[in-house]
Symmetry: C2
Subunit: 312 residues, 2 copies
């Protein structure tokens, strides 16, 4: 089944266009929770893997009936070396088993033959020569190299019902250093990237009206998000930057389609560390994450309902 | 010691500005070589890691006294899942132990807090919370997100004597889809990226006259390489695309400085699979790699000597 259709269906079923970002740090794990795992595993080799994987699994368990998708950020696992990657592999598998849609945030990019290797690593049922690779539902990618670095991903999306989200306008403060440069033809660089994304995604538009070749459009830039939506009526948006990065619900929904669909809003730290905001003990991080997830869902619903109706 | 100085010193010592690219596939490993490893390891769990790591180590052993640097492409390891990453970790460690300068080709890019995690993963002595991460000498990165996605890498370069190579003009056929768009101010997008790379790298120019913030400039685009060199007299160039991708010695040296320095030329498949070109049995892949490496070195030396002298 087309990835965009599958994601939209799950969002519709839960009435919640949000995504749980997983940016784990060992220092986020409550001591009592860690101690229990250390006792069970006897400490020693493999403990970092166990800590990271079980912490992320607890967050997934807390929201799997209310949030449709999860976005593990691979950098936060890579910073723990090979053990971190083993944990990452565990988390992707666990999330899929819990029926969450897994969007791996890895922003991969390279020339064609290398992009093929990345596609095998992340978007195929099995990796090279039948190795068990990371097998996610979708992957973030960077389109700086143009179509031949993107085609292997698009091919995997078509063949295996997977998706990609290509960086368009990112959520960080210096996004504009390159992305806002003005082209001779009047477009900004990020608009040119949007037009490339449109052309790459056209063959993979599903019955939902959206393509499995999506775009990353930061929640921190609502003006730009509205402009990009106009250019890209059929593109699924992954909207990061909600919560800890400063994006609010009103801004986050700016990039949704007129019918309030075709987008998923990611929050990581504001969900993972919700116990701070909710004045709960650290040990209740999972309950707090659920409470914050419900608030986020309701805030997005309200913001979508309150949007001024614009002429199509 | 400044990374650019260290790399230039090693290039000067060996009289060879080339780099061994490692893009391993299990299918490249000769059957007799694989069989010996299977016998030693008893097959089973961990065999993919052993095969990939020992194959790459044999290539390293074949050239460590004649080639200054090695560039493992992480995608080729990721496609084998967690075992591939374990092999990648082994290979980085082994290459550094053999005193090769290790440039990890991973083209990482993200917002500031995530880029910090990547910097810990690849450019620090140890990863997060003292985990043993990948600890390379240098990393390729993608600058699409602007300075706050680059600063954590630059900080690690300054603090730990490491380097980065930022994508500028890539070696692939569709490099121009975005990189050749013309800006309103007359520059191409890749020239704007070059100017950003210049400003990011200025604080890290070493005694060699080159900065530890380098640029990736494909061997397949000599015209562009010459133009970028004019803009970036103090930037170290990583020049991929030599050999299998079609780049020749004359084109590859187009990006070197007037004094014939400040650049390193990468070849992967043409070295790894040199036994085909040299009509040697597959079992002699390492000897063939060495023979091809010597030919590549001599071709680059000749091409550098033959360059037309241009007015500074």
């Amino acid at each position: 089944m087309n990835f965009a259709d599958r994601l939209q269906e799950r969002i519709d079923a839960l009435g919640n266009p949000s995504c749980l970002g997983l940016d784990p740090m060992l220092s986020y794990i409550p001591e009592a929770f860690a101690e229990r795992i250390r006792m069970e595993c006897g400490g020693g080799a493999g403990i970092v893997r166990e800590l990271l994987a079980r912490y992320c699994s607890a967050l997934i368990d807390a929201v799997t009936d209310i949030i449709p998708a999860v976005k593990p950020q691979i950098a936060y696992f890579e910073q723990y070396g090979p053990e971190g990657i083993l944990a990452f592999h565990d988390v992707v598998r666990y999330a899929r088993r819990r029926e969450m849609i897994v969007i791996v945030d890895a922003k991969r990019n390279d020339i064609g033959s290398t992009a093929e290797a990345y596609a095998r690593a992340f978007l195929r049922e099995s990796g090279a020569e039948l190795s068990p690779a990371f097998n996610a539902d979708a992957l973030t990618v960077n389109g700086y190299l143009g179509i031949d670095g993107i085609r292997p991903f698009v091919d995997a999306c078509g063949a295996e019902g997977r998706g990609i989200f290509v960086l368009c306008r990112t959520s960080n403060p210096s996004a504009g250093d390159l992305q806002d440069l003005k082209l001779a033809d009047g477009r900004f660089v990020y608009e040119a990237m949007a037009d490339l994304i449109h052309s790459w995604g056209e063959p993979l538009i599903g019955t939902s009206g959206f393509s499995s070749v999506g775009a990353v459009v930061g929640a921190t830039w609502p003006e730009e998000a509205r402009a990009i939506r106009k250019r890209l009526p059929h593109t699924f948006f992954l909207i990061p930057g909600y919560g800890a990065q400063g994006g609010k619900a009103d801004g986050a929904v700016a990039g949704f389609s007129e019918s309030g669909r075709g987008a998923v809003v990611n929050a990581a730290r504001s969900l993972m560390l919700a116990w701070k905001k909710h004045n709960l003990p650290e040990a209740q991080f999972a309950e707090a994450c659920r409470r914050e997830a419900l608030e986020m869902r309701d805030a997005l619903r309200l913001a979508l309902a309150a949007r001024p109706k614009r002429p199509e």
